[in-house]
Symmetry: C2
Subunit: 338 residues, 2 copies
């Protein structure tokens, strides 16, 4: 009778029915310590009875902060993006936060303006920046300017711990290439990622590190560059396989390019791994599903995203979260001894 017929119950309804002020109801919701136990129980009973849930928009307005975190990304790899989303979700589960996604176009000249409009319009609490766009310092500056908290993920540490969650691509690639060297390979080709990507640069450094440690010389004849796509992997594979002596192993900077190298090898009638060993990076779905299954480097994407999200939303837990994650070599069937 007193309650609007279709509207959801509000704090006023609860207060009236429980016979207390709305502020007291607010205290119950927010678990305020100075609250008489009997009052709390009475109010909680009414809340349960009415099925009352606080209105997040009203809360956001009064608190001058909201509970939305954004994921800004420009990543062609669907599995990575979804892994990140899952990771963030596991961090915000059972909190009042929600995840807003915003794919952007790295190549668009309006990219920064787009992000600015998005942030101004939605007034997010904070954002997560995913590679490769996370490498753009202008984005971090924009967030600072607009008062939006931010954490970026990346392949190498770029900021202080509270703003950064990094894998260590250089070290991981060095381990993978060292593994090939350990299997007797001496002529190991390298397919780099595109110029301008920090991950590509880091992975290339890892390759050099491994050769250096083993006392092997760098030979630019067996180094090629792709842009992380299957097609450029084929082209790079063709180039490397045309050299003499032919490499006995190739490390590709991501799985798609590794699949392209495999494709190129097959076109030339080479068997993998008998004639050529191949190692990729990322451990995306394709790695396990091609033939032969690809030995590759897996980085803990969900765990990283979860840590990043916690840094964003929970200052108390933030310092307990690692900023640095280790990758593993996943051995499958695309590597044989030389």
């Amino acid at each position: 009778m007193k309650k609007a017929k279709d509207g959801k119950p509000t704090i006023n309804d609860v207060a009236r029915i429980a016979g207390v002020s709305k502020k007291t109801v607010s205290r119950v919701i927010n678990r305020s310590p100075l609250l008489n136990g009997a009052t709390r129980e009475k109010v909680e009973a009414v809340i349960a009875d009415l099925g009352y849930v606080p209105n997040p928009q009203a809360r956001a307005l009064a608190l001058r902060r909201n509970f939305l975190i954004g994921l800004i990304h420009d990543n062609p790899n669907a599995q990575m993006v979804l892994g990140v989303q899952e990771g963030i979700l596991s961090a915000i589960r059972d909190t009042e936060f929600a995840l807003v996604v915003r794919p952007v176009n790295r190549r668009s000249p309006d990219m920064l303006d787009d992000v600015r409009t998005f942030l101004e319009q939605q007034r997010l609490f904070g954002v997560l920046l995913l590679p490769p766009i996370s490498e753009n310092d202008a984005l971090a500056e924009l967030c600072d300017e607009l008062g939006v908290a931010w954490v970026r993920m990346g392949s190498v540490k770029l900021d202080e711990d509270q703003h950064m969650v990094a894998s260590n691509d250089r070290e991981a690639v060095a381990k993978a290439v060292a593994y090939l060297i350990g299997r007797g390979h001496r002529r190991i080709g390298f397919v780099a990622g595109p110029e301008g990507f920090r991950s590509a640069a880091e992975r290339a450094l890892g390759y050099r590190d491994a050769l250096d440690s083993a006392g092997l010389a760098l030979d630019i004849a067996i180094m090629a560059e792709g842009n992380y796509t299957f097609e450029t992997g084929i082209a790079a594979g063709e180039k490397l396989l045309a050299t003499t002596p032919r490499p006995t192993a190739i490390f590709a900077s991501n799985d798609e390019m590794a699949a392209g190298v495999l494709h190129a090898a097959r076109k030339q009638g080479l068997s993998v791994p008998e004639d050529l060993s191949i190692v990729g990076f990322d451990d995306t779905a394709i790695a396990a599903h091609i033939w032969p299954p690809l030995t590759t480097v897996r980085w803990p994407i969900q765990a990283m995203a979860k840590a990043a999200a916690i840094k964003l939303i929970d200052p108390a837990e933030a310092r307990r979260q690692p900023s640095h994650f280790l990758s593993d070599l996943i051995e499958r069937a695309s590597v044989a001894s030389a």
Copy 2:
């Protein structure tokens, strides 16, 4: 001086500086028609000068509606989910809507409660339901109960047009199998999707349709079931390839299982497509990147998601959006004539 040092400008700031009431500013923002041109220009100048952007939470509170739409999904295929996200984003670009994502666990007994909590807590304007979870009628009912608008995507029409965007999997599979028959195949194996998935049932019906039209008998010896994963595709492939006479072609209900069949064939020393033709469904990344590239059925996922989002947010445009989308057969290299 008058303006808080760190806070963003509010409608009050604009009103005071422009020398009008806040209601007039509100009218400018909302493009009210009864507004003197000179007043409008004056206010717009102040808005531009201050960089004023309306607070979405305050707006949501006053309007008793917000501008968040949710994507609820439980889909193992990252590419599909991301395609949907892109599609939705292209629909809400340049609107004030934002996209909130919510992966759920289909198998969890708490799934419905999770969704309920999510919807009650966030008070979304509306949600998009993705298969396979979109097939759950209880979800649609829950949305109706909570007053949340909804549109579901699926492989077959389940609701009235305003709630539904469907591909036509049955017809698409029938076309694909007819294509195999047209290439001379008479013994065509079928790998079904998991029981309980509407898409799986529809695809199986399409297979039967095609055999019927060609006057071919159904042979359950060359039908197997998988759960849309690579591994179950291998198992299904092994089963079908063990029959005599061996099928000359196999249609798998998704690409991952098709890749599994390919894997099984290769293990038995069979060449594809010389000894066995294979057709998949979905045209995910894996289809183009395995060897040989997979002939498969592509459904217009982004366009469907875009149409679904428009139905949700724009009643005026909604009736102009199709509810029914057609799939294409993408011919690659995994099919040869019998």
